[in-house]
């Protein structure tokens, strides 16, 4: 009579302890997937979002190239913003994606042009449509200073920019809080209706031109004030408007 076949398990396996520490998971069936690791899926979805943000920016450039939006006029800015809004509204993105986009503006070959005006308008639209109330952007490593950042920043939003900003920072601010941890150039806060702009270092000419409300705080020096209708401007904690200095660009 033939001896019965030994069990298929290897002797080593028979020595295993009796308690399976993962036993409760034996009933688990993973949802059907394409076999990617979770990290791959995250990277893929982040890239997909970035592609959409990038494509929105390129379309804005295409549409507005004819209008020469960076030769700034208020109606062209508004028009460009409306175009930016149209693309941004359709994208599901996070504050982190905005920061990635800012970095990509100069550091990848995928974005052909960094044009400070449209880029600023587009970033402003992204910030205004972001789910997060607080957004921090690190722009200190960019060689180009971006214009028009914080355009129409609405009440309840807080935008913190690390680095310097270009012209027209925080124009048309609508109650939000804009903090620039560096210098800001000319026409900062022009036409703002409310909210707060804090510039840690120096600010340029025409500051607060036609501003209708809100406050601008400057940690360094103000090169010149614009025609301010209503609102307050502080230089190093000292109120400079309203005050003795009433005339535009004659402060120094």
């Amino acid at each position: 009579m033939k001896p019965s076949a030994p069990p298929k398990k290897s002797p080593a396996k028979e020595n295993w302890g009796s308690r399976n520490p993962f036993e409760e998971f034996k009933i688990f069936t993973p949802p059907t997937s394409d076999g990617d690791f979770p990290l791959d899926q995250i990277v893929q979805s982040t890239e997909a979002v970035m592609d959409r943000i990038r494509s929105g920016y390129e379309k804005l450039l295409e549409e507005e190239a004819k209008e020469l939006v960076w030769m700034v006029q208020y109606n062209t800015i508004i028009k460009a913003y409306e175009v930016a809004e149209k693309y941004v509204r359709e994208i599901d993105f996070t504050a982190e994606d905005i920061e990635d986009f800012c970095f990509a503006l100069e550091n990848t070959q995928k974005i052909a042009y960094l044009i400070p005006g449209p880029a600023g308008i587009y970033i402003s639209a992204l910030c205004n449509y972001a789910k997060e109330e607080e957004i921090a952007l690190k722009l200190s490593e960019l060689k180009t200073e971006i214009n028009l950042l914080g355009f129409r920043l609405s009440r309840g939003k807080r935008l913190v920019i690390e680095g310097d900003t270009g012209d027209f920072t925080g124009i048309g601010l609508e109650g939000g809080e804009l903090i620039v941890e560096g210098n800001a150039k000319n026409w900062t806060g022009a036409g703002m209706r409310g909210g707060k702009i804090l510039v840690r270092k120096n600010i340029g000419l025409h500051t607060g031109e036609w501003m209708m409300g809100g406050e601008i705080y400057v940690g360094g020096r103000v090169r010149g004030l614009g025609n301010i209708v209503e609102g307050k401007v502080y230089e190093r904690d000292k109120l400079v408007y309203p005050g003795k200095v009433r005339y535009p660009n004659l402060y120094y």
Partner: protein, 444 residues
């Protein structure tokens, strides 16, 4: 669930304390319901036979919150609870905490122990535990851990007991609580300032705890505690008086305290609640981060992280010590208690995430750079609880990102364990490495 109405009874006790005795704001939210962490965790501690460390500024109700819970869950009049409390001070001795020789018998050449009220009571409170010098803290280690109180070669074992200890923030008179004692506490919670308005109400209503006193029953209980009968025989006698006091409380205050058989039944019900897969996988993930070290095999308080470690994004890189085996037990106990109270059919990830910060806060030793990085962050919680909540938030974020893959890795682990010829799943988190280690250990 909840067919015998014990959950309703427990919630009535919570509500009674919150409405009449311990005024404070809710500070935690679970499944849309808001609770005050100090009352909720004290209630669970009393029901689960747990050990709770209550921290806070002087005069903010650390001791009283524990006293109210003990009075209503264990049916002891406040006077008896006061008389059994141990207070931490440098001159504290074993004789005042645990027991002393019976001097009368000692004169006759016999040895016998007179046990203290503290060692005999099922609901124990140690006031200002961090005023006990480090050397004297070890006197209560065993008692705190197992309910064994030993003196002169005699021992009593508390079958049912819970322990509350209060601690002030560091001042001139406080000492550090030694690590083995800290680890024995299941949870740490802060009894916080209730806000100016509630504080004003507390001042107006000074004698509010008078309702929980009962001089006659207090005298009866003292008499039993002092009597020379064996400890085991005292318990049923004490229960009789406690039940009578419970009936009095129900009649006068309209809130029904728990009797011994109620508490036993509640514990059986709690024990029957199983941990759902997500709660289990999340807990394993957290434990892996709190104990894993690729280079040295596990976290040890005496070893530092090496430069260039791959796992810098996980909690193991932020902490100094290793999670103890008591941590998962505390996590399960309290999540189970919470699931029972909310009348849920199993322990899910939300129960787990709600209690974990309180089980973790006192046990984790953070690296100095993490402490200095975060100490000025805006927060409502005391620093250790804040750090623990942040850690839980970070781990739950990681869990959300890879829960399916992680559970799959554990499921594959289970199948390999049962003998299937498969490869363990790969992943970046320390838990994947831990699964492999378990499988390798079994193979060799």
């Amino acid at each position: 669930m909840g067919k015998n109405g014990y959950q309703k009874q427990a919630r009535e006790i919570y509500q009674f304390i919150s409405d009449h005795l311990y005024f404070n704001r809710p500070d935690m939210e679970i499944k849309g319901e808001r609770f005050n962490s100090a009352i909720l965790l004290s209630l669970l501690t009393a029901l689960k036979r747990g050990k709770e460390l209550i921290i806070g500024e002087p005069g903010l109700g650390k001791t009283t919150s524990a006293e109210y819970v003990c009075a209503l869950v264990y049916q002891f009049p406040l006077g008896v609870i006061w008389g059994s409390e141990v207070s931490g001070h440098p001159e504290q001795t074993e004789e005042k905490i645990i027991g002393r020789p019976d001097l009368g018998k000692l004169n006759r050449g016999e040895e016998d122990v007179v046990w203290t009220n503290f060692s005999q009571m099922p609901a124990k409170i140690v006031d200002e535990i961090n005023r006990l010098p480090e050397t004297k803290q070890s006197m209560i280690l065993d008692g705190v851990d197992r309910g064994n109180w030993e003196y002169l070669n005699e021992m009593i074992i508390n079958d049912e007991y819970c322990l509350f200890a209060t601690a002030n923030y560091q001042d001139g008179g406080t000492n550090t609580i030694i690590a083995p004692l800290v680890d024995r506490f299941d949870v740490m919670v802060e009894s916080r300032y209730p806000g100016a308005n509630l504080s004003f109400l507390i001042a107006k209503d000074k004698r509010k705890d008078h309702a929980l006193r009962h001089p006659k029953y207090e005298k009866d209980l003292y008499h039993i505690l002092k009597s020379k009968t064996a400890y085991e025989k005292k318990i049923p006698r004490m229960e009789e008086v406690c039940n009578a006091y419970g009936e009095y409380i129900e009649e006068v205050l309209g809130v029904k305290p728990f009797q011994r058989q109620d508490r036993d039944q509640i514990r059986t019900e709690m024990e029957s609640l199983e941990i759902e897969l997500d709660a289990s996988a999340f807990s394993r993930m957290l434990l892996a981060e709190l104990s894993f070290c690729e280079r040295y095999g596990q976290k040890r308080v005496v070893e530092n992280c090496e430069e260039g470690c791959h796992y810098t994004g996980y909690l193991c890189h932020q902490i100094k010590n290793c999670a103890s085996n008591r941590l998962p037990s505390s996590m399960k106990q309290y999540a189970q208690g919470l699931a029972w109270l909310l009348q849920d059919s199993e322990i899910d990830i939300e129960h787990m995430m709600a209690v974990v910060p309180y089980t973790l806060a006192h046990r984790v030793q953070w690296k100095d750079e993490i402490l200095s990085q975060k100490e000025r962050s805006k927060r409502d919680d005391p620093f250790p609880i804040f750090l623990a909540k942040e850690a839980v938030k970070a781990v739950s974020q990681r869990y959300r990102e890879q829960s399916d893959h992680l559970k799959d890795a554990l499921a594959v682990g289970s199948r390999i364990f049962q003998g299937e010829d498969l490869e363990p799943l790969e992943g970046d988190h320390p838990l994947y490495a831990e699964v492999k280690k378990d499988l390798d250990a079994r193979k060799n």
